[in-house]
Every structure is written in C-alpha cells, then in structure tokens.
Symmetry: C2
Subunit: 307 residues, 2 copies
C-alpha cells in the first residue's frame, strides 16, 4: 500500500491573482514527487507545502507556455541552493531542453546535481517504474501540448485469514510478505501468496490534462481515472472564449469526466475573472457527481478504490 495525495501549488490560468499562482500540480506518491507543470513563482508554494527537497523528483511539462514552464528554472536553482544532490528528471516538449540550456548559460546557474531532460516526441509511455507507469496523450491547445496519466499496476489481493490459518502461520512479518505478493516458506512448507490472497486489486489512475479543449482522444485516455485534474478555465457562459483560446469550460470538463467514467473531477486553471470558483463547481456539479475545485496549497488524498 502506497500513500498518494495531490497537492496544488498553482491553479490560475495565464496570469496569477492575489490568491492563485500559475500552474503546478504535484502528485506525492510514497517518497516521490511527480510535478506536473511549473509556472513562474511555484517554488514559493513548493517551500510552503514542505514537500521536501531531497525526494525523488520527476517534472512533467505539458507545453511551452511561460505560465506552465518558467518556474522550472527557479525551482531547479533553489533545489541546488538548498543542497539537493539527487538528480532531477524532466519530461517535456523538445524546446524545453533548449529553454533550460539557454537560461542556464545566460544566468550562470550553478546546479550541483544532475538534471536529466527527456524530450517527448510522441504519445505513449514516458516513465516506467516497478509499480506504476506514466503515459502521455496529445492534448488540443494553441501549441503542441500533452496530457499525462499516472497508472499504478494491480496490487496483490487482500490476505484471506481463513486460508492462511490453515497453514498455521502466525501473524507477523510473514503475513506482510504474503500480502505484498511475496511467497514464503513456513516450517519447511512453501506458501504461495496467490493461494492465501483474494483476487488482485486494481491500482489507482490519476489524470492531468494540462491546457486543452476536450477531445474524444482524451476521453479514452482518461478512461476510469480515480481522479482527473482538468482544464476548467471558463464557465460555460464563456464557451466561445474557451474555444478560441483552446481551453475548456467547467461543463466540458464534467462532460468529458462523465464520459470517461472518472470517479472524481478536480477543476483547475481558472481564469483570473473568477474571484471564487463556486460558479464553476456548481456548473460542473450538475453534470458530474463528484466535483471539487483546486486551490493553491490544497491537499487531496487519493485512496484506493478497493481497500
């Protein structure tokens, strides 16, 4: 079992407001930080939310607009000044590597750790780890943009106490091993984990849209997400603006989330015209039954669907 939560460091679209910074959503999964976008100024909320500077960090940049990537520079430098030693992995559009290179040169950045940048050139799996993978899908925005999904692999089923008692195994570390999928030997007898656990349980799936119009492709990509963070720049009153500027309305986010069977929808990337997000949540709430608005420094746990 791995704890997972989402922390919003910035939730405003294009320009910050007095209460909202520019785009940044962090998935904290176990001891790892998965950072999606890094708008200018997010390092201050990074520090405020005490996410920790020496964790394993992966940064994903959805597209090359300044309000989504400029903050990566300051964050990288601050991590260095605060003494980080572990490398940082960044996955972003091909221009992102050039953006970092040019600025590191002009600004005489001294980074004391390694920054490994992977250019995303096509849809597919971006990161492959032992118990999860992250893939990307083309979004529809003014410039090339990608959406991301974190997909956990299935985890072992629940321990069946009745079955395990037949083997006479006492509670303790062997239980733990069997529960985590490991086979054990007890009093000379081999006990297979699958024999004493129920059916394997699904992992969690979390989607991050970045800036985009809603599309059928994204609806498929976000199929059955436990949690989906989606572009909700405008209320549907401003549908025309959303269309022109390649963003989504709260209604459109909810329609897509419904169509994809998403369990919980988190609206974010709000236009500065909205003093609060009540209108947008109400609007999406008439379509999808589990909607919440992101706000800076808000933390939301992502529990397993089946415990």
């Amino acid at each position: 079992m791995v704890d997972m939560r989402i922390v919003f460091l910035g939730t405003s679209a294009a320009v910050p407001t007095s209460t909202r910074g520019l785009s940044c959503t962090v998935i904290v999964r176990g001891g790892e930080l998965l950072i999606f976008d890094a708008g200018e100024g997010i390092q201050q909320n990074f520090i405020r939310s005490r996410l920790g500077i020496n964790k394993k960090i992966k940064i994903f940049i959805t597209h090359m607009h300044a309000d989504h990537c400029l903050g990566a520079l300051g964050l990288l430098q601050t991590l260095s000044l605060l003494g980080r030693e572990a490398p940082v992995d960044i996955y972003g559009p091909p221009d992102f590597a050039e953006f970092v290179r040019a600025n590191v040169k002009i600004l005489a950045f001294g980074l004391i750790y390694e920054v490994r940048i992977t250019s995303i050139k096509a849809e597919g799996v971006v990161v492959q780890e032992k118990d999860y993978f992250i893939n990307c899908c083309k979004a529809r925005h003014i410039i090339p943009a990608y959406a991301f999904c974190l997909n956990e692999y299935e985890r072992p089923g629940k321990l069946d106490i009745k079955k395990i008692e037949k083997f006479g195994i006492p509670e303790g570390h062997l239980y733990k091993k069997l529960q985590s999928g490991e086979d054990v030997t007890y009093k000379g007898r081999r006990v297979l984990s699958v024999r004493v656990t129920g059916p394997r349980r699904p992992g969690r799936k979390v989607g991050i849209s970045g800036d985009t119009r809603p599309t059928a492709r994204l609806r498929n990509f976000f199929r059955d997400c436990d949690l989906l963070v989606f572009d909700s720049t405008y209320s549907h009153d401003e549908f025309q603006k959303a269309k022109e500027r390649f963003h989504s309305t709260a209604s459109e986010a909810a329609i897509l989330a419904n169509g994809a069977g998403v369990k919980k929808l988190l609206l974010t990337h709000f236009s500065a015209r909205y003093k609060d997000t009540n209108q947008l949540v109400r609007e999406a709430g008439t379509i999808h039954n589990n909607v919440e608005a992101a706000e800076d420094l808000k933390v939301i746990d992502i529990p397993y669907t089946k415990s």
Copy 2:
C-alpha cells in the same frame, strides 16, 4: 510636490521563504513605477499591491542572477495579457537583452506593447527626466552589478505670502503657478516666481544597492540619501559568508549608511536562515539611528526633508 513611496514586492535572498519572495523594490513616484530588480514570482505581489498595469514603468536590473531578473519575463507577459499598451523601458546588464530575446522566442511570448531595453555599460546617468534623474554606480558582487540612485532636482521655494500680497494677487491658480516655479502676469504686471518664493528646496534622493559588498565608492554614491535600501543578507555573525558571497551584513549596511549621511536605512535581501529580521534591525540599530527592515508588500512613504 510629488508623492513618493517605496513598495517591497520581494525581500528574500537567493531562495524564497514562505513569507518572502525574491528581490523586487518599487519606487512609486507620482504616476510612475520605477521597479528595481524582478525576481521570479514578483508578478503576484505586483498584482496584490495594486500598483496598476497602465502606469509609466521603468525596470532596472542590478545584475543577471536569476533571483533578480527571472521575474521580468512573467511580469512583461502578464502586463500584456492584462492589456497594457504603453511601452516599458528596461535598463540592465548587456546580457539582459539577450535573456529576453531568447525567452520570447522559445516561449512564443506575444507582447502587445513595446519593450525598450537599454544596456548599461558604464557608470553614470541612466535616465534623465524633467524633474529627476537616475544614475548608477558599480557594486561589488560575484558578477558585474550596479547600484542605482533616484535624484530629484531642487524644487521651487515656499510661497512667501507677505511678498505675494504686495502684488495684490488673489489666492487661486496663479498662486499654484508661482509655487511651481512659473512666472505669471497679473493686471499687466510680470511677477517672477523667484521674487515671491523662498530659497529653492532640495529634492529627495533614494538609493538601491542591489547585491553588493559595502565599498567606499558606494558610500560616496549614496551620499545624503533620504532613504537607502541596502543589501543586508546576513547578521555580522556570518561576516565570513557575506565576504565570500559578496553580500553585506546588517552592521556593514549601517556603517556605510552612517558614513554616507543617509537619513533612513532600509535593510533587505535577507538570507532564508532568518525567520524574522529582529536580530538584523537590532544589530544595525546600534550603529544607525533610523533603521527598518523591508518585508513583502510593506509600503514606506518618502516625504520631503523640507516641506
């Protein structure tokens, strides 16, 4: 008479803290904003302090470290997105123009107004206006850096009511003209402003050090400042660090201010190690009799010495 005040948008050194953003000090003079440095993320405090997006704006960059110039990009873009039309003038190191050019290209910035960048290559007058000028002086930092001074020209003396009554001029718009230094004609008679006003009164002088060690050159440059904003990264306990990293201690700032006959000293650019600035103010206060610590969003009026 022109109102003048100073507004701090960021007061932290190198890395932000939960309460302090990166370097930015604004002098609001009449309807004009004179912005000294633009650390990453300052646009949010710019919006919070309601400085106004359509005022005349000049930005001065002391040196090319990211925590002093990265925020210019976001500020320029936000001003554009919020509909600014007037040009913005920027004065900075020669690399600054290249920094803006490279990022505008990579990030596909669309600026709807003109950005005029002047490269500072030597000490001297940088800006020359009708009633003030701004000059710069070499600072001593790790990389080339400049300090700046705003110098108001003398203003006309106070209206001498006894003298003016001799001419029989009634109170009203003619008083105002004479007070502002203009000569007038009343009932066919020419009245010279200098004949009915007292001795000319000095303008104000405000200094901004940027990042620097204290130097004799800066002490001369800041001679008789009404208000001086000076690098106070460390307490004097950390003198060795200040020396190595080319910053100043609170004591050094106070000694320089004393030596220059500065009326009020404002400490800023605090290392993140200081939770609050009491220690630094106390330390400088034992040397200079009018010391205050800057803090984010703090506003300080700059009155004339002689009303």
